[in-house]
Symmetry: C2
């Protein structure tokens, strides 16, 4: 294994910047072939990868015995043949995705022989800091290559040896596409250096805990694609199908409680609270969910008391808070006050109430008669998921490869001057949209 | 005139936040009618506006005599009947623009009766800090209302009295649409407070000098829509039509040298330098343009010497630097090194060279055989221009009303649970795009 020089961060980022210009000109075929070569090399070099991974696992197990790490962390870290096969398959599925680049998003004739095209292009240089699963490194590198972006990778230190081998493989088999497009950093000092490089790095994609993402957002001027927390609600309207409401509220909490799109607070219209809550609570308790209710809830069912802080807590666990509301506006107001603008759901057979709820709630996803757990790039059909954004700028909600692109305007003229279109007798613009595509080298009209 | 309580910034921003939720639910008709009411009121209350403006102008003239202000500033500040008419017309033209909200950007069936819609919605609360022209306040307020966003306005202190009256008019005639959607702040302390409110304010749109925009970017965590500088190039290729090249390079510098899309450096292929430069320099000099050339340029024409700092200077004036390059890659390299990623143009009859230049240059707009001065929202046919972005995230290049929107996912189901689509025998998603539009209240499929 080649030694890593850990502190030449500027040289690494600078190399990534140059490579980004090259990468932007590669074809989808070249980038996808590169991805398939990565998948092949991962399978071919299995023993080398597993050997490095064993070192990480051994070190992690020592930490586990010392009480520093959890068993879950050790499990996530561990690779085997089957996991490597699924990693290779994931890389191939990214290769098979539609090309996110080169699409003409708008074509407009400004005047005769003066044509403007808005085209999807890579963003440039991405910075990523991610958790200890070694497959995260491969996934992020794959998404970056497919979208034509250079990427600076910083994985968890627990996966140091695994990450080095995986990085070496990726770097080696794709160096001829754009040398330097992928860079590995390891030291914390390098992360701090990266956070300062807002002139060189175009977008940061941190993955990890809420606190971690918040830390990144607070310590950089680089735009961050990520989400900080998910406080999601299910509102059971007075016109709800109560059986449906029970199933949705159960699924939204129990199917996978640790994730950001799980429900944390259930809001129940007072008209249906008495018929709905007993059965709901019974179901929750049968699945070991702790229910915490407000005063009105506790008049109906015997559960723990919810305090004000419950409304603003992302449990990420088998706990749910319940509040009885007088009417729809109170539910909307509660969600807009305590929600994290992630995903919200109303259960109702009343179309007007659904419309009102969906329009009034300020969140990236608002559902009608469906579980909040559907908020996810794969389920949304976006292909590979880059992340989920709770920000409103650039990308919002589950983000696919499109979120790793920006746009560029191409203008094809035959000598037009602005002076012709200004002054006392200006020539008018035609400004007509047309179906058209910017194809390099064929739009010359001379 | 009502007194302004200058330091309740939080209350103002909080009112704007609440109003944003209301504004998001208004129809295009309501917002456009509000704009027409603003236009009418501006004309009706002409004397009141001009009276306030006279105070600003008188104060500015005193500052002019004291040598503090320039005549240009005083001129920009001054309103009269004709200017008010053109301001009213501008507001009406924003009213007439297509609705930027509510458009369904994607519709996808995830499974039978489970339909996902991606819909354009307002961003929320905009913060703006702008120059001393009082028409800027009206324009920014108009763009915000049309796009359903609340807005915090901070104008130049030179226009204090004019801004207060214009703000009062806007606030009064639109209060019934969403009370509190428009807020005026005046003190510098309030600007500092606003820059800190990254939880409440979704996007900042500063307008002014490069240094000013840079200051804002350096002092806030709120995303900033704006541009810092424009170092634009025209490259005259060996296959250029030299007469066209002369006209384009002249227009790009002389037609309006103070603006960001004017050319600062001319790059000339060595094969055509001798035939191109003498005539070009003669034209520039006839228009009082100072030409600064590199060594090879000065072997051909008698001009001042360009130093290394010229390549990175936005003159914003009748000065241009000229460099002779050996070949296309050197031109590309120079632009990618010194350009500000704003607007770049190649003049050539060779389609391959054009394609190479356009793809290799990392800039928001790249032109072929056209003046850099075309980079502008009006000329691009975007309707009202919100600003020009040299950032790559969210919006890039000239930005229309679309740049003041984000998206929201609406999911319409009939009780679907994620558990059905997970586990050992998962139901597959259909993931089929369809032509469809989310219309509030009519998508209920029960």
């Amino acid at each position: 294994m080649k030694p890593m020089s850990e502190y030449d961060t500027e040289a690494k980022v600078s190399a990534a910047e140059s490579a980004a210009l090259e990468l932007a000109q590669t074809s989808n075929e070249t980038r996808s072939d590169g991805l398939r070569a990565i998948a092949d090399a991962i399978l071919e070099r299995e023993s080398e990868i597993l050997e490095a991974n064993e070192k990480d696992v051994a070190e992690a197990e020592a930490m586990l015995e010392a009480g520093e790490y959890s068993q879950a962390l050790v499990d996530r870290l561990k690779l085997d043949s089957t996991k490597l096969e699924s990693i290779a398959e994931m890389v191939r599925s990214v290769a098979d995705q539609e090309d996110p680049l080169g699409k003409t998003l708008a074509a407009r004739e400004l005047d005769q022989d003066l044509e403007l095209y808005k085209v999807a292009v890579p963003i440039g240089v991405l910075g990523t800091v991610f958790e200890s699963r070694p497959d995260a490194l491969v996934q992020i590198a794959a998404l970056s290559l497919k979208s034509g972006n250079s990427v600076i990778l910083k994985g968890g230190s627990e996966a140091l040896h695994s990450n080095r081998v995986l990085y070496d493989i990726i770097e080696e088999v794709t160096a001829d596409i754009a040398d330097g497009w992928v860079q590995l950093i390891e030291a914390h000092a390098e992360v701090d250096a990266v956070l300062e490089m807002d002139e060189q790095i175009d977008l940061l994609m941190p993955r990890g805990s809420t606190e971690f993402v918040q830390y990144i957002q607070d310590n950089t001027k680089i735009p961050v694609l990520g989400h900080t927390e998910g406080i999601c609600h299910v509102y059971v309207d007075d016109a709800a199908d109560l059986e449906m409401a029970t199933d949705i509220a159960f699924d939204a909490k129990v199917q996978y409680p640790a994730v950001c799109n799980a429900v944390e607070t259930l809001l129940v219209h007072e008209q249906v609270a008495e018929s709905f809550l007993p059965e709901m609570v019974e179901q929750y308790e049968s699945a070991d969910v702790e229910v915490r209710g407000d005063e009105r809830t506790r008049e109906i069912v015997d559960v723990n008391a919810a305090t004000a802080s419950d409304w603003e807590t992302e449990y990420g666990d088998l706990i749910i808070s319940v509040k009885v509301v007088e009417e729809l506006p109170e539910a909307i107001d509660h969600v807009n006050t305590y929600g994290s603008k992630h995903t919200e759901s109303i259960v109702t057979e009343n179309a007007d109430s659904a419309a009102k709820f969906m329009q009034s709630i300020d969140a990236s996803s608002v559902f009608h008669n469906a579980s909040t757990r559907f908020a996810d790039g794969y389920r949304y059909g976006l292909g590979a998921e880059v992340g989920i954004s709770t920000g409103k700028i650039h990308a919002r909600g589950p983000v696919g490869l499109e979120g790793l692109t920006t746009t560029k305007y191409y203008l094809e003229g035959d000598g037009q001057l602005v002076a012709t279109y200004a002054g006392d007798n200006p020539r008018p613009f035609t400004h007509e949209e047309f179906d058209g595509e910017w194809v390099p080298g064929t739009r010359s009209r001379n």
